[in-house]
């Protein structure tokens, strides 16, 4: 994985803006930002993160590759679309943030133990296996992400909700052993593989990314 990062470093040298334009979804929009700051001011998560969208865009232009790709900010985006609606230049800001997160993950530079990233990985792993989300297994994986003790604590805190879900028939304990799934699981896997191939071809990747191939 470090390989892909090195390849990109060699290819783009110091031109991180160019790298973003070519490799990140909607990255070609970054240069349109006029630094008005309305996205940063509109962000519902604004006070809680280090780099606001407009700051990220400026950092991209300034070539701060490591800082951008290892930033927690993109992972905190809740996709409320406030910034995108208000952007005077119509930048698809939300999509760029997700594109950057995805690219950082692909290069192995995304922050470790980032809850959103961990959740995304668990969710992807969970739902692509059978074509359906196994909520019980996914919940358990998320709870026990930080170790056994913290997992038990979390389950204990949320026990009443769990009981409620069980009685409302929204939580089937048998799912722990047998997952329900979609009809054509092989077809789903083939479709996802094909999508991976198309993306790799379009973006010029040689290496199959971790966590993407089945």
């Amino acid at each position: 994985m470090g390989d892909l990062n090195q390849q990109m470093l060699d290819k783009y040298r110091n031109n991180f803006l160019h790298e973003v334009e070519e490799k990140v979804d909607d990255g070609e929009w970054v240069k349109m930002c006029m630094q008005c700051g309305v996205c940063a001011g509109s962000c519902t998560f604004g006070p809680d993160w280090e780099h606001t969208p407009q700051k990220i865009f400026m950092m991209i232009r300034a070539g701060k590759r490591e800082e951008v790709l290892s930033s927690h900010s993109m992972w905190l985006c809740t996709s409320c679309y406030n910034c995108m609606v208000r952007c005077p230049r119509e930048l698809p800001i939300t999509h760029i943030m997700h594109g950057l997160a995805s690219y950082a993950h692909r290069l192995g530079l995304a922050p470790k133990n980032q809850p959103t990233r961990d959740f995304s990985l668990i969710f992807w792993e969970n739902c692509t296996k059978t074509g359906r989300v196994n909520e019980l297994r996914m919940t358990i994986s998320v709870y026990f992400r930080e170790g056994f003790v913290s997992g038990v604590k979390k389950m204990w805190t949320l026990r009443n909700i769990g009981r409620g879900l069980f009685f409302a028939k929204r939580l089937n304990p048998l799912e722990l052993f047998v997952s329900h799934g979609c009809k054509d699981k092989d077809g789903l896997r083939r479709a996802l593989k094909k999508a991976d191939e198309i993306e790799a071809r379009r973006r010029g990747y040689e290496v199959q990314p971790r966590g993407y191939s089945s």
């Binding site: 630094q35 008005c36 700051g37 001011g41 208000r86 952007c87 005077p88 230049r89």
Partner: protein, 427 residues
Amino acid sequence: MAEVVATNQTILVVGGGISGMTAAIEAAECGKQVLLVEKSPTLGGRTALLYRYFPKLCHPTCGLEINLRRIKSNRNIRVLTLAEVSAISGKRGAYSATVKIAPRYVNENCTACGACAEAVSAEVLNPYNYGMNKMKAAYLPHAMAYPQRYVLDASLIGTPDADKAKASCKYGAIDLEMQEETIEIKAGAVVWATGWQPYDAAKIQPYGYDRFANVITSLEFERLADPHGPTGGKILRPSDGKEAKNIAFIQCAGSRDENHLRHCSRICCMASLKQTQYVKEAWGAEAKSTVYYIDIRAIDRFEDFYQKVQKDPTVSFLKSKVAKVTQDKSGDVILHGVDTEGYHRYANAHDLAVLAIGMQPSVAGVDIPAEIVADSSGFIESSAADSGFFGAGCATNALDVNRAVQSSTAAALRAIQVINKLARAEA
């Protein structure tokens, strides 16, 4: 009422603001016959509603007075007010226009004595103060109105107030039987000086212009500062009449925004810089103006003025497009956003927020004939090579008064060339 003599050698000027007046005067002083058609009851347009001009901070009344005098003393100009061009056909050198003239209900006998205004009790929103106060339904638009004649609002007709007005007039100037007229006129060339209108501030949802009384537009602020305005020239905020000393100016309100107006309105930066000086003039050292901006576009020679304002201790600049405006119980407006110089988040309280509202063309392309090419913002860009139509002033672009006058002089010259060619061909 309207006995208009117009021939193929007449220049028709549509719009009687500073641009239309200039084009008409320039052409008339070159000896051409001019017909100036204005939709409202008075000439002067939006210029007459400004308190002061930038950068010299002189009063628009001065320049308007000179121009009105030039119009009065020139026999080549015929002015039609309350008149609108509703259709136009023909080609360069031979246009035929349909002009609709709305009734004023007051004839030439009017001496502007004001007795009718005293007699009537009905009131209407005052459009010359952007609806911030009311005026009598028999009114003189403003002190600089030309012609200096009263107008009866159409809502008055058929009410007892109309009869009271008629009875009060010593000069027999009030004619309640006046009807709308439609006349056909000929013209060799047409100057479109249809001007501009402020962008609808309520459409900028996060700024809450439609929800908060203390969020106003820059044009309304001009009226607040003007002695003829709703507060008699005192800068008082609308919600509770409190003296507004701590004022926020929000730049690019509607302009440079793909969601609203895609062009830069060009004048708003200078307008806000100018308005900070009104605040200083009103409250001295207690004044506090904050300009929230993306970048200050004080074009070419106006840089001097910008530098002067930057040195003013009552004015501070904050580089940020405001994300959201709220209003608290005391009526103060709170501006939310991020200062992009250092990425600091702010929530600043001000007495009043002034939106430096963008300019858009009065007629957004639709009402103007096909011979004219409009740009993506609806401004007149050009006209066909063989056309006798010429744009002037803010109908062609977002311009300040100075540039609008230049643009109009240019349009007048083009129109004169059409007439001259025609005259030579006919001779």
